[in-house]
């Protein structure tokens, strides 16, 4: 580990606009620092700045950036109004990690691309301009959507996939004041600058995540992975479906494990919205989601896997409703 300065921030103001790197649960950042994939000069410990509450916000909810994943998943109002979020969080990591991991840290977690962790291999995300070892290498866990010739990594998390489907909003503050970013737009595509995971700007800090009013309906988070717990998603499907008179009146879908960001396809949702469920329709929705999907060799299977999982989730969400 490279030597660094550390200070304990007492309020967000101690962090915003500085060049210090926030450390929250440390479950991702510390690993990366030990490997020297990340080498911050200065760490701001944000565990004591407050921002650790879950509050009502009109019909919605405001979740502080320092709320632990375990607390968020167990919160009674989350479980009642936004069960998708609770389920997605519980599908991730392990009990021990969730006890430490925070809302802000989880959004900011970095890719699990093997080569990103290996200082002796080219990686544009770690060392811009050095190349991408995953292309032509081992890429079983990599992206099938929105990848670029410079990086095919995925955003590995679960929580943000649910937040994207729920139209959550990330509230951040920087030297120029506060702004809001839709959870769906928070993470970016790699393009030619894969070193940038998301749209948080230097000096900005995540303060909270706002959940809009509950949608009702069925909430399903189906995570497909190589073992039953403690593994990242190969493909995950987050779905909220509200049925009305035999038709899908509201549909929200987001996908994890397939792109550099939680993948949301408004066209697919529009296709389903207002329609009566049918396998054929689900398949067309899957076509829309998979528009442009490309495998890299080892991850080709994710394309049919996403289709099958989406079909099954939609069938489950609409089953038995009139």
């Amino acid at each position: 580990m490279k030597a660094f300065d550390y200070y304990r921030a007492e309020s967000p103001a101690d962090v915003i606009g500085t060049d210090a790197r926030p450390i929250a649960g440390g479950t991702n950042l510390l690993d990366l620092m030990k490997h020297q994939v990340e080498t911050p000069d200065r760490l701001a410990d944000v565990n004591h700045v407050g921002l650790d509450g879950i509050e009502r916000d009109g019909d919605g909810l405001r979740v502080g950036a320092l709320v632990r994943n375990s607390d968020l998943a167990a919160d009674p109002s989350v479980r009642e109004g936004w069960p998708l979020l609770s389920r997605a969080i519980l599908a991730g990591a392990s009990g021990q990690i969730r006890n430490r991991a925070t809302t802000g840290g989880n959004l900011m977690q970095r890719t699990r691309c093997y080569y990103f962790y290996d200082l002796d291999t080219p990686c544009n995300k770690r060392a811009p301009g050095s190349g991408c070892s995953a292309i032509g290498g081992v890429n079983r866990i990599h992206a099938i959507l929105g990848a670029s010739g410079d990086c095919i990594a995925t955003y590995p998390g679960d929580m943000a996939v649910a937040m994207s489907a729920l139209d959550a909003v990330v509230e951040v503050e920087g030297p120029n004041g506060r702004r809001e970013i839709a959870a769906t737009d928070f993470h970016r595509l790699p393009g030619d600058a894969p070193q940038r995971d998301n749209d948080l700007q230097p000096g900005e800090m995540i303060l909270s995540v706002r959940l809009p009013a509950p949608l009702g309906g069925k909430h399903i988070y189906r995570k497909v992975r190589d073992r039953r717990s403690y593994a990242f998603a190969l493909v995950s499907v987050a779905a909220v479906v509200v049925m009305d008179a035999g038709r899908m009146s509201t549909v929200r879908l987001a996908f994890g494990g397939v792109a550099h960001k939680p993948w949301r396809v408004p066209a697919a949702e529009a296709l389903l919205q207002g329609q009566a469920p049918s396998p054929d329709l689900f398949d067309r929705a899957a076509d829309a989601v998979l528009d442009g999907a490309t495998g890299q060799g080892h991850n080709d299977f994710k394309i049919p896997l996403l289709r099958r999982t989406l079909n099954a989730v939609l069938a489950e969400a609409t089953e038995g409703s009139k």
Binding site: Y114, R227, R228
Partner: protein
């Protein structure tokens, strides 16, 4: 205190045991599910592992990895590193290892950090005042190379294979048998490279006192480790002491002296200070041993009556250039099933990837599941129930060598296991469905050769009637402390809390060490013999024949006399030394441990995910020494098997042979949720040919077969055969349609 009175017993297993001593002793502690004596220390964190107890003044070393796959180190930024904070030394000593020693080598493995054979090979040790400083400096090390990576061979398909003559065998005419058979299968299976990934990564701390070095490390076989370290350092074994009181799992990865031990000793010598070197998990994956990948061709034939006529097993495995070990994949095939016509082939390819070595049940762990899957294919072809098919083909004697079995309980295990598991409810392939899940059941035999290795122990009966057991045996989580305590207590008639067992110090009498599932039987026999020598002495003092002496609860009883041991000892200390050696019974009989494993799985028709819903196994492995640790070994072994069937695989980058998933987040072993209810049953069993205790190996047996039962269950669920392990969901999806 006066000198101890020394007695000793050496026993060579030339004849089956007829004495049945352990069935005649009175204490009744042996075989009980006694808690581990060291358990409270372990759960309270006070049992200190290798890297948890450093002498004052210890400094820290971190190994630098090669970033090329083949070639030579020609230069190093030593000067830059020496200028970094806290750095004390940058060591590139020609005694450093290319790879750890193989089990029981007793001499140094291939040495020299300058020539590179695989990516990640240690090329230097950076030592600094603190662990963090050492690691920082090591990560900033830069070597100059003469890079020959382009000439490296990284994938088995491109390797040159040797076929050592001594490892080929044939009998009859297998080709003809296959041609003429009513039913035959000729199939090829693949298993991947795997890693031991023991909970405690390799670690060692070394310090010198004059010309004498002490190494506190995490090792399985201290006798040979001492010789290996001495040879690596170029000193006499008399000047080496190794301490491994607690070992957090080994699975074969700690059989031989490894990088950290040799590097720590060299650095400590150079600096005149204790030096600790621990491998990071990522280093453990790429610099210790892997289990070789394998390609296996299985040919099996049978007549219309379901009686086998031919058995062929060819295996292709790999290792680094100049390594003599090669995974003995076909080890159990010669004697498991009948068949007049037989062929065994063994091929070793040379690859520039991490060294291959022994991993839990080397050979059978990957050979048995594959032959058991092929047996299932043949049973299916012949239209015979898989359990029944196996029962029809269990030989009377070893069909290859003609030797009798010391004992063959395979049929009993299959029959009893099928009954307990509810095998009769198994349906046709693809016939059971629950929602999106296809349900299937599978069976596999479990077979593992049984071994005996020379072992010596001391049992000291102190004047107060308590006893101490001393041997350099290790407890790698298996329960050696428990069973050795129980054996001594049983033979001396003492409650277990009056026996203290001291292990893991190479200054103590040399044992078999832990490996090959021979540890309990070998070291246990030596303890039994040592205690028996003491017992005979007590009989003399009681003026009776040893057979007429009863020892129980600290009393010696003969006819109508009953005295406490302290009274019998009259202030004396009795020190018994026991030595067991293997003899003719290992040559004139085929010895093995037996079991039958059963699995029920559910396969998702949506995602291809496989869930194991239930596992059960019936084992016959001689006398059970501790019901709890034996069961734990089996649970662990079967979970190992789940990993092998469904999860574990080292992903190798074909461009440079590097292991990309070298951490526990991406190298998947089963998590709790992957492990279903497991039923384990031991048949009441004795094998008098094995050793005087009539006990056999357990820990490895349990992982031989499980993966076969699981893939056979998947075939029963889906109607599809998966011949490439692990059966990950992408492979299933491809066939689901």
């Amino acid at each position: 205190m006066s000198d101890p009175i020394e007695v000793s017993l050496t026993h060579r297993m030339n004849f089956p045991d007829k004495e049945d001593l352990l069935d005649r002793t009175a204490q009744g502690i042996l075989g009980t599910p006694m808690d581990r004596p060291e358990g409270p220390l372990k759960v309270s964190g006070t049992a200190t592992y290798a890297d948890e107890d450093h002498p004052p003044g210890t400094v820290y070393g971190w190994l630098v990895r090669s970033s090329i796959s083949k070639g030579w180190v020609t230069g190093f930024n030593t000067r830059d590193l020496r200028a970094m904070p806290g750095v004390l030394a940058v060591i590139r000593d020609k005694r450093m290892l290319r790879n750890p020693a193989q089990g029981q080598a007793s001499k140094a493995p291939y040495q020299g950090p300058a020539e590179i054979f695989y990516k990640g090979q240690p090329i230097a040790l950076v030592v600094a005042e603190t662990f963090e400083q050492a690691r920082d400096a090591a990560l900033n090390a830069r070597a100059d190379y003469d890079d020959r990576s382009a000439k490296g061979v990284f994938v088995p398909a491109e390797a040159k294979y040797e076929a050592p003559r001594s490892q080929q065998a044939s009998k009859g005419d297998l080709d003809e048998a296959m041609d003429e058979a009513a039913f035959a299968v000729d199939v090829e299976y693949h298993t991947p490279s795997m890693s031991h990934a023991a909970m405690e990564p390799h670690a060692a701390v070394a310090w010198w006192d004059g010309g004498h070095v002490t190494l506190r490390g995490s090792y399985q076989m201290l006798g040979s480790n001492k010789a290996e370290l001495a040879d690596a350092l170029g000193i006499s074994p008399r000047n080496v002491r190794i301490l491994s009181p607690y070992v957090g799992g080994g699975f074969g990865s700690k059989l031989g002296i490894s990088h950290e031990g040799v590097a720590a000793a060299i650095a400590a010598q150079k600096l005149g200070r204790p030096v600790a070197v621990a491998l990071h998990r990522r280093q453990q994956f790429e610099t210790t041993h892997r289990r070789s990948e394998s390609r296996q061709r299985i040919r099996l034939s049978c007549g219309a009556d379901g009686r086998m006529t031919g058995v062929g097993h060819d295996a292709w495995v790999s290792n680094l250039p100049a390594e003599s070990f090669s995974e003995p994949v076909t080890q159990a095939t010669p004697f498991t099933y009948d068949g007049e016509n037989r062929q065994i082939g063994h091929h070793v390819g040379r690859l520039n990837i991490t060294c291959a070595g022994s991993m839990r049940a080397p050979g059978e762990a990957i050979g048995v599941p594959v032959t058991e899957a092929a047996m299932d294919e043949l049973a299916q072809a012949a239209g015979i129930d898989p359990v029944e098919f196996r029962l029809r083909n269990i030989p009377e004697k070893d069909p290859s060598s003609g030797r009798p079995f010391s004992s063959n309980r395979l049929a009993d295990c299959l029959t009893r296991g099928a009954e307990s598991f509810g095998w009769k409810d198994r349906r046709e392939n693809g016939a059971r469905r629950e929602g999106e899940w296809l349900i299937g059941m599978g069976v596999a035999s479990a077979i593992r050769v049984n071994m005996l290795v020379p072992s010596t122990a001391r049992v000291i009966l102190l004047p107060d009637g308590t006893a101490r057991v001393e041997t350099d045996m290790t407890d790698i989580g298996t329960g050696s402390y428990s069973i050795l305590t129980q054996i001594a207590a049983e033979v001396l008639g003492l409650p277990a809390d009056r026996v203290t067992t001291v292990l893991g110090d190479s200054d103590l009498p040399q044992s078999s060490g832990s490996g090959g599932s021979f540890g309990a039987a070998s070291s246990g026999s030596s303890v039994m013999l040592a205690a028996k020598a003491v017992r005979e002495k007590l009989a003399k003092r009681m003026d009776c024949d040893p057979d007429d002496l009863t020892l129980k609860d600290g009393y010696a009883i003969a006819e109508n006399r009953r005295r406490t041991l302290a009274e019998v000892l009259e202030g004396d200390t009795l020190q018994g030394t026991g030595t067991i050696k293997k003899g003719l019974t290992s040559v004139d009989h085929q010895q093995a441990c037996w079991g039958a494993q059963f699995a029920e799985v559910a396969v998702s028709t949506v995602t291809g995910e496989v869930h194991v819903r239930r596992l059960a196994a019936t084992f016959a492995c001689g006398r059970i020494l501790n019901a709890k640790t034996a069961r734990s070994q089996c649970i662990g072994g079967m979970i190992f098997g789940i990993g092998q069937a469904l999860h574990e695989e080292i992903s190798t980058d074909a461009r440079d042979g590097s292991f990309v998933n070298r951490d526990l987040a991406e190298y998947h072993v089963p998590a709790n949720l992957d492990v279903p209810h497991i039923d384990i049953e031991f048949l009441n069993d004795r094998d008098p040919y094995a050793n005087p205790m009539q006990a056999k190996g357990i820990g490895e047996l349990a992982c031989c077969g499980t993966a076969g039962a699981i893939v056979n269950a998947i075939a029963n669920a889906t109607g599809e055969r998966f011949r490439s392990f692990p059966v990950t969901l992408d492979k299933v999806l491809e066939r689901l349609g």
